[in-house]
Symmetry: C2
Subunit: 431 residues, 2 copies
């Protein structure tokens, strides 16, 4: 398609709001603007919304991608004034108020940037080339295929050292993603791999490393939860390396700052994220972590009619002097507040400044264990009760009754028989 | 891996049976040889068995691939003397009794070729290059992504003619696969597409063609069922072209022998299959449809200790002077009989000549309609009762309780809300 053409969206008398990105923030915004007096255009690279908190279960063959994603078109069936375009935004021209995409350009009256964040390799290209990220369901699926492929290869690798490179797994980053992955891998090592690969000596040969730069796991959670998570993981046989900074990974071994190295072909990189703003915005708008500086009304600095919500937005608020955590709750609340402001604007009402209501945070560690922090009143708890809370919260958060049902059934079946059946290396055949 | 090395499988005192291909025939054979006095090696390109009769539902976003495939390793957990290797067999040396694979070579005492059949383009390379096959779950998934991608593209294609190429679909081949696909597409056109793509004029613009070279559909079924299938499809708006032979397809239009052509970018090729024997077998062993000539004991002609079962095998039997139909039932019965013969051989018993017991055939056409033929006593019926029989038979045939449960639930949900939710373009991200 000729990029000088206009993207095919009917012109209308309504003001056009273009939302780029259908993650938690963008989707909440779009849904809150249903039946509003705006024409809403949602642009996303994929034709579905992704439920990121469960990516690690897709990677671990516990859930199918389809159970944790939801097609946008189904979500907005019957909505008038709502247009979905599956494409990538390559550029924005804030003066002409126009976006560029491979399908053509698209003008806007109001632009919302909800492009989220991507894996941050902190400039290390070798790590970027060799390590496995997990910031999309497609990457989670690729990771799953990779792990299974390597175990198949290990079977036909009789020499000890090359086999170690195939079976050992290092996870870099001790945040919720790293911790949850490590726990799930430890379960898989204990319950699934010995049955699937009796020819390998799983118990002795397979090592799971969790490498964390700081001196504790789950930064941002309470010291109690952090200590509990560490104990749980060590109980399960995960080798947790604290105060260990990864300096390099060449696809064969991961190198640490203290001079040691771990031979492995598989490094899962969950060590950091960076904002993904759109090209064409003023440089002054970009701040810490490659995020867009926004005011309490989500307006991007030095721009007009451009807003940002979610992981890509950096907003300072009383109690959050270094910005909000980059989590789903913040994105959802921001999306909701901004949608509310658009509606209030139409009604001539005063806009509401955003204020984050922290509902708490949690992480699950393997089978029947989790940690939960609730800020007000300050409560921390762990163990099986925390795990049940984790299950319920996530189940309710997943979009769609059918997805809830299928995730729930998967969890029940996996819990009973300790044995996910999704260990399938399926790659859509490209001709 | 150096191909001159030996594939890593422990040597044992037992005779080694190597099965190439874990489809219906190979898998039945392998399962029947559990706890037998042989070492059994199963080699397949994939790490899972595929349930081919439901590929079309994967392509139509009605089922997830994972619901209709089953990992081999899970199937054979706890089995001793059973080895699974995920690789491709490139060559056989019948004299040295050795197979070649990218993982190394593998010797055998008995070789069973159960490699099945692949799409037959009858030598037309242009069709092969542009048409979409559906002989694996990976191809079905690719087809699904392709259809959805094209509808997204149609949205941003304002001109009528290029849009027609994107939205129209031609299926070539009026066998069960073509008929079932056409029925499912017609349902999708009626119930799903208008809701997902209100911007397109689905009812007027989308045409589904089913192109059949012969003068009736479902060759091999009764004239009654064939006529019923035609009527059902035409009721649903499918344009069935009988006595129409496709001569070419250039990716933009499909050309028929009568000189007409249909503009479409999407041709699903279900017009024929051909056997996929392994390279290195004597030419005299290869017969009609690129299949391997076998005797009633599954022995491949002019070979020693080499057997073939399923779609790749061509056996003449009284009542089947032109060989058996290439369907699951034949493969399963062949696998079972051959496994029995191996066991009988160990016990010094006489071998059993294969005899096909035809249980009948069926095809489903869209929602709540199917046709069923039962040979003895000769019964044909259609409509909703046939559809329920079809559902039950397929549900019971799917491997694994969890798969049965998930397929059943998917069917119930899709039946109630007319609205499959798996319209997801998910491609594992390749770095």
């Amino acid at each position: 398609m000729d990029p000088t053409t206009k993207i095919n969206i009917p012109e209308s008398d309504l003001e056009r709001i273009v939302i780029v990105g259908g993650g938690f923030g963008g989707l909440k915004l779009a849904r809150s603007l249903r039946r509003s007096n705006y024409q809403v255009v949602l642009i996303d690279k994929n034709n579905y919304h992704q439920f990121q908190p469960l990516f690690y279960q897709v990677a671990m063959a516990g859930l199918e991608p389809s159970s944790i994603v939801f097609p946008f078109r189904k979500l907005f069936q019957g909505e008038k004034n709502m247009y979905i375009r599956v494409t990538e935004v390559t550029d924005v021209d804030p003066v002409a108020k126009r976006l560029q995409t491979p399908l053509g350009h698209c003008n806007y009256d109001h632009l919302i940037i909800a492009t989220g964040a991507d894996t941050n390799y902190f400039g290390n290209e070798r790590i970027q080339e060799h390590a496995l990220p997990m910031k999309s369901v497609a990457e989670a699926l690729y990771l799953r295929n990779n792990i299974l492929d390597d175990y198949e290869d290990a079977l036909t690798t009789p020499e000890y050292d090359p086999r170690q490179e195939l079976v050992d797994i290092a996870i870099v980053g001790g945040g919720p993603t790293g911790v949850e992955l490590a726990g799930a891998l430890a379960e898989m090592k204990k319950h699934v791999l010995p049955k699937d690969y009796p020819e390998l000596h799983i118990e002795e040969e397979v090592d799971i490393y969790l490498i964390q730069a700081g001196d504790h796991l789950l930064k941002g959670m309470s010291p109690e939860s952090s200590a509990k998570a560490l104990r749980y993981l060590e109980d399960m046989g995960v080798k947790v390396l604290l105060n260990s900074r990864v300096t390099d990974f060449d696809g064969k071994a991961v190198f640490l700052k203290d001079g040691t190295s771990i031979p492995t072909q598989k490094v899962i990189w969950a060590a950091g994220i960076k904002g993904e703003p759109i090209r064409g915005l003023p440089e002054s708008a970009i701040t810490y972590g490659n995020r867009l500086a926004v005011d309490r009304y989500h307006r991007v600095k030095d721009c007009e009619d451009i807003y940002a919500v979610g992981d890509v937005a950096y907003m300072e608020e009383e109690g959050w002097p270094q910005g909000h955590p980059q989590v789903a709750q913040v994105a959802i609340q921001m999306g909701k507040n901004l949608a509310g402001n658009f509606k209030r604007r139409k009604k001539g009402k005063e806009l509401t400044a955003f204020s984050y209501h922290d509902k708490g945070s949690m992480a699950t560690i393997g089978r029947a264990r989790a940690v939960v922090d609730i800020p007000k009143p300050s409560i921390h708890f762990g163990g099986i009760f925390a795990w049940l809370v984790w299950l319920l919260v996530h189940l309710f958060a997943i979009l769609g009754t059918k997805n809830k049902l299928f995730v729930f059934l998967n969890w029940v079946v996996n819990y009973i028989n300790y044995n996910q059946s999704l260990r399938l290396i399926i790659k859509p055949k490209v001709k």
